[in-house]
Symmetry: C2
Subunit: 265 residues, 2 copies
């Protein structure tokens, strides 16, 4: 057994428990009136984000007190542990606040700084993607699989919104957008699950923190796709904020070339 | 009783039947593999759009053979009748195809060219907005109500995507975007329902046909909001493709002024 495979056997059960907790906690609170605050970077956080992250942390501490935890809302604990859980209680908080059903809870696990397990729990629909390094990704218990896409010209491309890109990044993104077949906006992390399930070919984002991408990597790659930064580097602790996921390595390579023309990211 | 109130009493029952049919037909087909074709304007249509519209037309013909029907896929029949149903079997076909849960079925009814009844049926979540001219809008059977928003600077603004605007339109839209508090992308017609429910303050779109906006007007206005074209004119048969919905008349007026600066739409 590799260390990654050990993770699956030992830790998947807890990851599923965390996803169950997220589903039960978030679903009845969707479109309720919640108190909203602005974080120092201006992004919103609700009492739901904060309360759910605390609950998830408690379960992790109770079960594996030696593990680290990094969460969007409450920061890092034991981030130098071999095994570190990475939590985004509500990815797409803005969607959640506006009543749009595309937010999700992200539960990731890193071994030595690399993502090895990820769950995308989509409470509004009761959908769930589960990815474990070295194993096929599951969607609602059945296999998820990317679809072939030989070139950007054949690709359906998704991103959350143009306002998330800097001017430089938008110029680079626009090269891919103009070369792609279909462009679609909105969708938060759900779009990465839809790459894994073979509905979308490319997702490109530029404001991803570790808690945004950690859970997504095993989901996309376990379904046969590829997820890296804009320079093609593997994602993990210390990665920058620019990520790209593709169902097909050929579309990924061509999109990287378009993103990188005249600029090294 | 006004003619609009007559519509509610006489025709609401059929509108609900059509929404039930749409929900039952679309929900199990979401994320199934469907055949997709390109329409003459390049936009996609699936076998689900076509088959559902035919089913809805059949029910209307059987019940009110003297009524007209205008649908996105199969065009107009008796469009000169006093009462004309306006159908968009799947609004947000691109979302539907990509697996994003923001598409909906739109069922509208016009009296003498003006929208008097509208249903937004959101099959992915089993949600439904019902609006009838002169009556309070309902969301899943309970009252829906806009929220106050005194100025664009306080507004959460939503639109489907920048690629739907012409260059001129995007310049105008960007004036509102830059003045607004929150900007959010994606969401198709659901965003208009969320204006009615008080989660979003402004929605601005520029590629709306009659079948896209007809059902939305009674939903937004019955909840206390306002929905017009970019010059502030009432929407109906013959309207252009640029629409704006606001929960608060003050934000609507200010957004119109920003859209119209230096340009009459």
């Amino acid at each position: 057994l590799t260390a990654s495979e050990r993770a699956a056997a030992e830790f998947l059960e807890l990851a599923i428990e965390l996803a169950d907790e997220a589903r039960a906690f978030v679903r009845p609170r969707f479109r309720s009136r919640v108190s909203i605050e602005a974080k120092p970077d201006g992004s919103p956080v609700t009492e739901i984000d904060t309360a759910l992250e605390a609950r998830l942390r408690e379960r992790i501490h109770a079960r594996f007190p030696e593990h680290g935890v990094i969460g969007e809302e409450a920061g890092a604990e034991h981030a130098d542990a071999d095994w570190v859980w990475v939590l985004d209680p509500i990815d797409g908080t803005q969607s959640f606040i506006l009543g749009k059903p595309t937010f999700a809870s992200l539960i990731g696990l890193m071994l030595l700084g690399r993502p090895v397990l990820g769950v995308i729990e989509h409470p509004a629909l009761g959908d769930r993607w589960v990815g474990v390094a070295g194993s096929p990704t599951l969607f609602n218990g059945g296999p998820a699989r990317v679809r072939p896409c030989a070139a950007v010209a054949d690709a359906a491309l998704s991103t959350t919104g143009p306002n998330w890109f800097s001017d430089d990044e938008l110029t680079a993104f626009d090269r891919v957008r103009k070369a792609s077949k279909v462009q679609h906006w909105g969708g938060d992390c759900i779009a990465f699950g839809l790459v894994a399930s073979g509905f979308i070919d490319l997702v490109i984002e530029s404001s991803h923190h570790l808690h945004d991408f950690c859970a997504l990597v095993p989901v996309v790659e376990g379904a046969g796709g590829l997820m890296t930064d804009w320079a093609g580097r593997a994602l993990g602790i210390g990665s920058g904020r620019r990520v790209i996921a593709a169902g097909d390595k050929r579309a990924h390579a061509e999109a990287l070339a378009l993103l990188g023309a005249g600029k090294s990211w």
